[in-house]
């Protein structure tokens, strides 16, 4: 069976004026379905850049990326949007919820872009909220929720289309240790019980300890993989 994520010699160069900045310089990595990977490394080592590329939010300057056996680098923007919609769920450090919408509407958001029937949306969004233990907060705005609750809404949104992969860039960065622990319990459950592949960037070793595999970045390269 081919791995879920397979990158080869991935390179990302940012051009700033006349200077090229190599944020990712030749990363090769394979992640199998069902893995729970923690990505670690110093600030500025290229973790987020790498995550954005495997999340199809950004395109690599060079290198190959096979997601679920499909070459991604050559796909059109619209195709990439479709992949983000169906196969990937994002969890961000800053939650990235739409402030003017209720938790329910935020969770429904991905369904708006794949032609799901209107009457299904609410049912599915409520179910997703329930799976993160927030069914009684469906009509709250993000501003009316705690950080931990907001992050769980974001996870419900990430789960709504039953993705194969969850990408989380410092998901506990804005949470206290209690909320962080709850979040990690949820991640572990999603990984173990639902078989969802999780790739998570973190600076904290106790958070990383929930993962089964640790990948270390340094200056745009993978230096350790265990």
């Amino acid at each position: 069976m081919s791995p879920l994520i397979e990158v080869e010699n991935l390179v990302k160069i940012y051009r700033m004026g006349n200077v090229d900045f190599h944020a990712v310089r030749g990363v090769s990595l394979a992640i199998d379905e069902g893995e729970f990977v923690a990505v670690m490394g110093a600030s500025g080592s290229g973790k987020s850049t790498f995550m954005n590329i495997i999340g199809c939010l950004d395109k690599p300057t060079a290198g190959n990326y096979l997601l679920d056996g499909q070459e991604v680098a050559s796909l059109s923007k619209d195709k990439l949007a479709g992949i983000r919609n169906k196969k990937i769920g994002f969890v961000f450090q800053s939650f990235n919820l739409l402030q003017r919408m209720s938790a329910l509407q935020n969770v429904e958001l991905p369904l708006l872009y794949n032609g799901s029937p209107v009457k299904d949306r609410k049912i599915r969004a409520l179910a997703a909220l329930k799976s993160v233990g927030l069914e009684d907060r469906a009509y709250h705005r993000p501003s009316q929720l705690s950080g931990g609750q907001q992050q769980r809404v974001a996870i419900a949104r990430a789960l709504i289309n039953n993705p194969a992969l969850i990408l989380a860039d410092e998901p506990t960065g804005n949470l206290d240790s209690q909320a962080s622990a709850e979040l990690m319990t949820l991640f572990t459950k999603l990984n173990k019980e639902n078989g969802i592949t999780i790739v998570m960037v973190t600076h904290e070793s106790d958070i990383a300890a929930y993962a089964d595999r640790h990948v270390y970045f340094k200056d745009g390269k993978v230096v350790k993989d265990e």
Binding site: N52, G55, L57, D58, K77, D78, A81, G82, R84, N85, K86, F90, F92, N96, L97, L98, R100, L109, P110, L112, Y113, N114, G115, V118, R157, N161
Partner: protein
């Protein structure tokens, strides 16, 4: 993503910033209201003119004494008015293209009935006049050629005169005094309304032309009249009639070749058509000026949408991250612009209709709000939304997801 939910999202987004959305709409509101009001005023005026043309009658020529010059009318040689009742008679008899010809000798005088008095226009004419003007009596009868031949003291009165002199009384058979001379009222003319130059045509009394010449006003020379009006047999006969009348009058007035005419023939129908044409041009002009404000409103929408795209960069990033395609983002912002424009347009239509109702009410016209103008403005404001919303929406759709998510 279906249109209905996109419209809902757009309305939601717009209602967040009600003040701003309202001010943005104001441009479109004013533009559309102005277009509707201007078009209605224009077509109201045109309708008014056509009505007046109808009231005057068709295929009419008007003959005035004096030569036409570039500066307008001036008196001919010796500055004596030169038209006579006999000229009118000769035209009717000798010009085959002329169906009727009637002389007119108008003057203003005080009219007295009982203890009421009223100053009005008294016009001496012949029975043909009422054929030319297509102006029947409401009661009584029009005076006859015999009245003209005998210079009898009979009068036909217009509705305004009746209202002012007689009130509810029946004027038929009553004696009125014009300059102290008693006249017997033998007919009441039906209502005619305003003339193209804004005169009340019902504020008038008609008497036999001979009576006016000999008994009421007196003339500089026998048979003198002020105007002759002629009705041609058909619209196509107007040109020939004009030519033949000129030839006949030159001959009757003994004007040697090379001298200019001592009279002027005017084609009333042509003049009316010109007036109608200029009213039409006027309304087009007003409409185009108004549509400039619509375009200004559109630019306002574009401006606000550009601001909105920048403000909501992060939202765009989030939507893209969960699977929105460029096209979805484009539609979202485009529909927002169109919703702004269409709501503004609808309010503008309502205000425009109320406005034109007021204008026509005070101008005394019938309301002339065409459904076409309403439909057109509605479509036009939607088009303004699409046109001016497209650039900001496209700009939003082309943003890169990573950049948007990084945007603070």
């Amino acid at each position: 993503m279906n249109t209905l939910s996109t419209v809902k999202i757009a309305v939601n987004a717009l209602s967040i910033n009600k003040m701003r959305s309202g001010l943005t709409m104001l441009g479109i509101i004013i533009g559309v209201a102005a277009v509707i009001a201007m078009i209605s005023v224009g077509s109201g005026a045109r309708e008014q003119i056509s009505k007046q043309i109808e009231s005057i009658g068709s295929n009419l020529l008007m003959i005035l004494p004096g030569a036409a010059t570039s500066g307008g009318l001036r008196m001919g040689f010796g500055s004596t008015p030169t038209l006579t009742s006999d000229d009118a008679k000769a035209i009717a008899q000798e010009v085959p293209d002329a169906a009727y010809a009637a002389p007119l000798l108008p003057g203003t005088a005080q009219v007295v009935y009982g203890n009421q008095n009223w100053s009005t226009v008294i016009t001496g004419t012949t029975p043909s006049f009422f054929d030319i003007r297509d102006w029947p009596v409401e009661s009584g009868a029009i005076f006859t050629q015999r009245d003209v031949d005998g210079a009898t003291k009979v009068a036909l009165v217009g509705k305004t005169v009746v209202e002012n002199l007689f009130g509810d009384e029946d004027p038929l058979g009553k004696i009125i005094r014009i300059k102290k001379i008693p006249f017997k009222v033998i007919g009441v003319l039906s209502r005619k309304g305003q003339s193209p130059i804004g005169q009340d045509q019902d504020d008038s009394i008609y008497i036999p032309v001979t009576t006016a010449q000999k008994k009421l006003f007196g003339t500089a020379f026998p048979g003198m009249v002020r105007i002759i009006i002629v009705k041609a047999v058909s619209p196509t006969a107007l040109k020939d009639a004009e030519k033949n009348i000129a030839a006949l009058l030159r001959q009757r007035h003994h004007i040697p070749t090379g001298r200019e005419d001592d009279f002027t023939v005017r084609n009333l129908t042509e003049m009316m058509a010109a007036a109608e044409e200029s009213a039409k041009i006027m309304s087009i002009l007003l409409g185009s000026i108004a549509s400039v404000s619509l375009i200004v409103g559109g630019i306002g929408i574009m401006n606000i949408m550009l601001v909105s795209v920048t403000e909501r960069t992060r939202e765009i990033g989030i939507r893209m991250a969960v699977g929105a395609r460029g096209g979805d983002i484009l539609m979202q912002f485009l529909i927002e612009a169109v919703v702004l424009a269409v709501i503004g347009g609808s309010i503008g239509i309502i205000l425009g209709v109320i406005g034109s109702w007021f204008i026509s009410h005070f101008a005394g016209w019938g309301i002339a709000i065409s459904p076409m103008a309403i439909l057109l403005s509605f479509g036009f404001s939607a088009a303004v939304g699409v046109f001016f919303g497209f650039y900001p929406a496209r700009k939003a759709s082309l943003l890169a997801p990573v950049e948007c998510l990084r945007y603070e």
